[in-house]
């Protein structure tokens, strides 16, 4: 997993409540053999018409938001099924942080497994960030995980909470595999021991 340290980038406003996993990635895209490549179908039904043409009104299709890295969304983001395809699609698009007043539980946890930082904040603060995001590509927001701070384009600072262990994993880019890799030394010495004890393996 990529390390999440300090992120400065374009934030897109998506002021809809209850964005569910079907909206994030419709089920016809689950037959894939990949985790990557789902980014083009992120928010598929909102983003394209039936013929596959882009809907110019959808925020991520607007020129100033094509490189969005931070999403500011309405309440209860990520509800619905447990499909990990939802965070896969978000990450593949290039979004690394989602800000809302609340998240569905499974989605929230799945984000961390895929290098995405979900941040839950009180309504007023989300409103403020939503306004900032509406300014477009000249207004860059900064999310500093280490300091647990969001800085708006006007320099306003908002503090956020995050579970200490999850923070540690994200900062160091650790998933289960990453955590195991911290024990590379133990694995290596086991392999060395085996090379003499059971060389045929």
């Amino acid at each position: 997993m990529e390390k999440f340290e300090k992120l400065t980038g374009i934030a897109a406003p998506l002021p809809l409540v209850n964005i569910d996993t079907d909206m994030i990635i419709p089920k016809q895209f689950l037959k894939t053999i990949k985790r990557s490549g789902l980014g083009v179908n992120l928010f598929d039904e909102m983003r394209y018409d039936r013929e596959g043409n882009e809907n110019p009104d959808f925020v991520l299709n607007k020129p100033q938001y094509r490189d969005t890295q931070i999403l500011v969304a309405g309440d209860n983001f990520g509800c619905g099924s447990s499909r990990e395809h939802a965070p896969w699609a978000i990450a593949d698009f290039g979004i690394k942080c989602v800000i809302s007043t609340s998240f569905a539980d499974i989605f929230f946890n799945n984000c961390f497994k895929n290098g995405i930082l979900p941040i839950a904040l009180p309504q007023e603060q989300v409103d403020l960030l939503m306004k900032d995001a509406e300014k477009g590509s000249n207004a860059r927001m900064t999310v500093d995980l280490e300091a647990q701070e969001i800085t708006t384009s006007d320099g306003e600072v908002i503090k956020f909470e995050v579970d200490a262990f999850k923070k540690h994993c994200l900062l160091n880019g650790l998933d289960d595999i990453g955590l195991t890799m911290e024990k590379a030394g133990a694995i290596k010495s086991f392999e060395d021991k085996m090379a003499t004890e059971r060389p045929w393996v």
């Binding site: 195991t180 890799m181 392999e191 059971r198 045929w200 393996v201």
Partner: protein
Amino acid sequence: MTAPKTLYDKIWDAHVADQSEDGTCLLYIDRHLVHEVTSPQAFEGLRMAHRPVHAPDKTIAVPDHNVPTTPGRENPEQMTEDSRVQVAALDKNAKEFGINYYPVTDVRQGIVHIVGPEQGWTLPGMTVVCGDSHTATHGAFGALAHGIGTSEVEHVLATQTLIQKKSKNMKVEITGKLKPGVTPKDVTLAIIGATGTAGGTGYVIEYTGQVIRDMSMEGRMTVCNMAIEGGARAGLIAPDETTFEYVKGRPHAPKGAAWEQALAYWKTLYTDEGAHFDKVVTLKGEDIEPVVTWGTSPEDVLPISANVPAPEDFTGGKVDAAKRAIEYMGLEVGEKLTDIKIDAVFIGSCTNGRIEDLRAAAEVLKGRKLAPGVRGIVVPGSGLVKAQAEEEGLDKVFTDAGLEWRMAGCSMCLAMNPDQLAPEERCASTSNRNFEGRQGYKGRTHLMSPAMAAAAGVTGHLTDVRELMELEDA
């Protein structure tokens, strides 16, 4: 003095690379088998994280689940789009990550659980995993072998370890001798019939007793294969001369001095006198009859001489399950099992797709024909099994009897390729799962041994194979 250990304890202890305070272990994996269905996202994950495969030389891949089994199958046109994409992905991943690979065009290709032992990748005392629940098969060698999920596949690819907690120890002992006509498949089904599909949940089973000791490696693999249907993550059989004999000379088995060193170690792999088992089940070999399943769970096992049970014969949730199963299977309560007419015969799968299985079926089919209206396919478990069978003329026996002789793969065991039952079509099958829809939408599966499946094919209904054997003797 150290406390006596079970075989499972010994293999487990020999593979703990690290242990956390809460008892969670990092278990080192000696062999990782990979197939096309559960691996694509795992390789994709490695790519995204720029990780290599930690030990490509210990990783073996083969496409088996959705490859066609008809001649000319190298032509991708024969596959459905989903299958083609998955097989192509495995081709690419195997090449890019430099792992051992047996493509569809290789004569050694076959069902992953048949190829592993055949090539000598599976050896006693090893830890073996695969993104497939029937990995339990490899336990026949005294290897700790079990299935894993896609995220774990990625974990093993990246680190050659698995984060694991230890299971409990269970012993299943089969004493005495089997009667003529009773095979390893009957033994493993009878065990599940006795313990239920949840009987082994939370346990690793060690199969012991004279019946197991007398079995060939093929038979032992059949027994361990279905440990998972009994709820256990893994089944084990202590290695002995039969095991060493089978392993010796296989392409990836140790040779020369390494063989001697390995052999000395393998001989320490048995359960110590007085070691503790959390659960013990004992069956008498003489009590086991040729069996078939009547319902839609592998525990729905009955001797062939029995009748279709009534839902009221059961208790609890099983009453409704039995009712549903009888309806799904299109059976009459009280009907004799031997009156159930079949439409199809499937001989193959990782349970019964080895040479001995084909020999047993051929012995029954020799000089006989499938009953009118019955269709049959024989799918060898690997290209090498196929070649061996052809050398022995078994293919001829099958085709003369009216069955189709196919190429290696999982085929109608799970019907991911075009080999499927039609709705309500009834099959005498040597595979391992009789779930609703397993062999095709609304298809009806009766699990049994290869000899029993062949017998059913000949008579057109479920049959006690011993009747045909007696005919032979007369």
